[in-house]
């Protein structure tokens, strides 16, 4: 490759990659969310930041009110109240006892203002390992 042509390609490549890096950086600043446990959130860590908190949906805590969907997220003995007013419908997998990851910021009242909920039914569709799983599985009447 001749000198000047090579230089032009190099400049063009740098421009392209540079633009993408800049876009990546701004996109990252807009959408980054920090994973925190319920306990860490309650200890007042990371207030004001966008958080992702995982836990179990407390049985019987789901309530539809005029100002959104309220529920409590638990992790061992720690409990976090959540209010959801996001644009997307609540996922089908979200229900009492399911594992959920909520994304949002902590409001002044200590309630997590969620903009996104992800939920899955833990171990519902995956056989657990070995025989212990079957043993702790009381659901089969034929056993």
């Amino acid at each position: 490759m001749k000198g000047p042509t090579k230089g032009r390609f190099l400049i063009a490549a740098v421009v392209v990659v540079g633009t993408v890096v800049w876009l990546a950086f701004t996109g990252f600043e807009e959408s980054k969310a920090y994973y925190r446990t319920v306990e860490e959130v309650q200890a007042g860590e990371a207030a004001g930041r966008r958080l992702k908190v995982g836990g179990d949906v407390e049985e019987g805590s789901i309530e539809w009110k005029d100002d959104g969907l309220h529920f409590r997220l638990t992790q061992e003995e720690h409990v976090l109240p959540v209010r959801y007013r996001g644009a997307d419908p609540v996922p089908d997998t979200f229900k009492d006892g399911s594992q959920a990851v909520v994304e949002g910021k902590i409001g002044a009242d200590g309630v997590l203002e969620a903009v996104k909920i992800q939920a899955k039914c833990a171990s519902k569709y995956e056989a657990e390992y070995g025989a212990e799983a079957a043993e702790t599985e009381p659901r089969y009447p034929g056993s």
């Binding site: 392209v16 419908p89 089969y140």
Partner: protein, 655 residues
């Protein structure tokens, strides 16, 4: 059946290992007997993996709930159709199915190369067998589909058979879900063939353009399956998941997009090697990366290292996948290093304004996009490793990068066909581009005046006009030549043009499909949605439409309970029909599921969801107005049609 499947899987282990070794040795010593033994091992491996797969299917059909996988993914009342497709609804079965597809590809490659490429075939056979070995290994050690249920009772294990299974995840009980996984897997697995040939060609120092010629159709076929699989997956998400969209930058989606990006880059860059003898290392590296990304994608979704809505539970297959990947990277790039002297370029990039340079930018940008997707997907893990805390990035990150990249690629797809190889003169540029550029500017101004003010959407629609014009010009020019030469009428001239050079004109049709797809995606800039609780007789309005609840009912079927709203839809007082969005609760799996109703037209979709039963006893109804979504699916179909044309053999002139 359980025992039969188990035995088949276990036998697969020594057979694949033996075959891989003997085939490699046969290739190295050029002893035909060893080579044949390797090929027979591949046939035997295919038969064994088929036996294992069909045993599992038979267990599903006979409700063999003593099998843990069947008990967890099926139930008696499940429709027959879904009992078969339950095969790939979980980890163990998916891996077995993947391995079976490897076997299928292996057999087809074997049959089509009985007299050709004899120097490469021993290594190809060997690589296929090693891949099968690894998947058999994972099935046996980490995700065995043939485990029986048993419980511990006073120190000994007692087998038991539950009366009914736990049922198939209702989200998977959808026709698109029946064809989406096999087609996607056919894409993923299909890249093993060009990968194996590339490796074999490198190893035997014959990495000229022959391996490209041998594998051109294979890579195109795998790419087509992958594309169709991705579009079908998007379609499934749209009609089944009930959130009004089709792409969410979920790790599983990203996993399928990454090999598609590098695979698409590969399909373009091989043309440079064929025409100019350049980019040999690059092409080999691209196809290796593509196959390894296919495996990596499966690793990502199966290992549970990245949390995802549809990822499977955490499991030890991750470690085996990581091992397979590490070995794959080590060996493939090691071979490239060993053979680097053989991969010298025969010429160099010409002017910045040339066909080659447009391919250079195409490849650069596809790879940058792939890297960005990889980075975003892996970021939670990377940040944990580096900073000790998990930080995730969301859709804005991916959109911010990929929308401009997509638009740039769209622009290139209109530009490149009109550029000459080596160097394009300003004079020919002016001649070729006057019409497309004038039309693009006119379209842009018209759209702006019609209140299309969203910047990216406006750019996307205008560029679409640009690309469609250049494609039409290409067909027109070729057709005009044929008319002059053979006196053919227009339709036949166009058809013959495509059949005489299916790769080029099929490629243009693929580009046209991409344009339609982009138009559909750009429509999402104007998505709107409303959510309200409605009682009987109450109405909701969205963008000129109104929706009125006529009836609310609840009921049950053997498989699920349901709550359903019957709603009439009308636009400016004119009735458009009765719709029944529904919410189901599947008893066997204790899982709710939304059955959405969609009113589609070429202009927009109205997407109705029964979100939940509200606090006041009414139905919480969510309605989305999604412009131009139809064009995503139509674009997908056109893309596949164009790809099929590319696969056609070249028709010889018969006059």
């Amino acid at each position: 059946m359980n025992e039969l499947g188990s035995i088949a899987l276990i036998t697969l282990y020594p057979v694949t290992l033996f075959g891989a070794a003997v085939s490699f040795f046969g290739g190295k010593t050029r002893r035909e007997g060893f080579v044949r033994a390797g090929e027979r091992s591949l046939v035997l491996s295919f038969l064994l993996v088929s036996l294992a797969t069909f045993s599992l299917v038979a267990l599903f059909l006979r409700d063999g709930f003593q099998n843990s996988y069947v008990a967890n993914h099926s139930n008696i009342d499940l429709p027959l159709f879904y009992k078969v497709t339950s095969l790939w609804s979980g980890q163990e079965g998916s891996l077995l199915f993947w391995n079976w597809l490897l076997g299928v590809y292996g057999i087809v490659v074997l049959l089509s190369n009985r007299t050709k490429n004899r120097d490469l075939m021993p290594y190809v056979t060997s690589i296929m067998l090693i891949s099968m070995f690894f998947f058999a290994n994972m099935n046996l050690l980490a995700a065995n589909p043939f485990r029986s249920l048993a419980f511990a009772s006073t120190g000994s294990m007692v087998p038991f058979t539950p009366a009914d299974g736990r049922g198939l995840n209702p989200l998977l009980q959808h026709p698109a879900m029946v064809i989406h996984p096999p087609i996607l897997y056919l894409g993923y697995v299909g890249f093993v063939v060009p990968f194996a040939f590339a490796m074999a060609a490198l190893w035997t120092r014959s990495a000229g353009t022959r391996w490209l010629a041998v594998t051109r159709r294979w890579s195109l076929l795998a790419w087509l399956f992958l594309s169709a699989g991705i579009v079908l997956g998007a379609r499934w998400a749209y009609v089944e998941l009930g959130w009004g969209g089709y792409w969410a930058w979920d790790p599983v989606e990203n996993a399928s997009l990454m090999p598609w990006l590098t695979g698409t880059a590969f399909l373009h860059s091989v043309m440079i090697q064929e025409k100019r003898g350049m980019l040999k290392v690059w092409n080999v590296a691209l196809i290796m990366t593509t196959y390894l990304l296919c495996v990596f994608g499966t690793f990502l979704t199966r290992s549970g290292i990245v949390s995802s809505v549809h990822a499977f539970a955490q499991s030890p297959v991750g470690a085996y996948f990581a091992g397979f990947l590490a070995l794959g990277v080590f060996f493939s790039f090691g071979i490239v290093w060993l053979r680097r002297d053989h991969l010298k370029s025969e010429s160099s990039l010409g002017s910045v304004l040339s066909r080659e340079s447009s391919f250079f930018f195409n490849n650069l940008v596809f790879l940058v996009a792939c890297f960005a997707v990889l980075w975003g997907t892996m970021f939670p893990m990377l940040s944990e490793a580096v900073r000790g805390e998990q930080i995730s990035v969301g859709p804005p990150f991916f959109n911010k990068i990929n929308i401009p990249i997509g638009l740039f690629l769209l622009f290139l797809s209109g530009l490149a066909p009109l550029l000459a190889w080596r160097r394009t003169s300003w004079e020919s540029l002016r001649r070729s581009f006057t019409l497309p550029i004038v039309l693009t500017i006119l379209a842009g101004v018209a759209l702006f005046l019609l209140a299309v003010r969203h910047m990216y959407a406006l750019i996307c629609f205008s560029l679409s006009v640009f690309v469609v014009t250049t494609i039409a010009m290409e067909f027109y020019r070729g057709g005009r030549v044929r008319r002059g030469q053979f006196g053919e009428p227009w339709p036949r001239a166009i058809a013959n043009l495509a059949l005489r050079n299916p790769r080029r004109y099929g490629g243009y049709i693929v580009h046209f499909g991409v344009v339609l797809l982009f138009v559909g995606v750009a429509g999402s800039s104007y998505n709107r949605n409303v959510v309200e609780e409605l009682g009987v007789g109450e109405e909701l309005a969205i963008g000129g439409y109104s929706l009125r609840v006529e009836e609310l009912e609840e009921g049950e079927t053997p498989n699920y309970d349901f709550a359903r709203a019957s709603v009439t839809l009308s636009r400016e007082g004119e009735p458009l029909g009765l719709y029944h969005p529904e919410r189901r609760f599947y008893r066997a799996s204790e899982q709710p599921s939304s059955e959405v109703e969609i009113r589609s037209s070429w202009k927009e979709d109205l997407y109705m969801v029964y979100a939940s039963t509200g606090p006041n006893g009414g139905a919480v109804i969510q309605v989305f107005r999604n412009p131009l979504v139809q064009w995503v699916w139509i674009g997908g179909l056109v893309l596949v049609a164009g790809g099929i044309i590319c696969l056609l053999p070249t028709k010889k002139e018969t006059s």
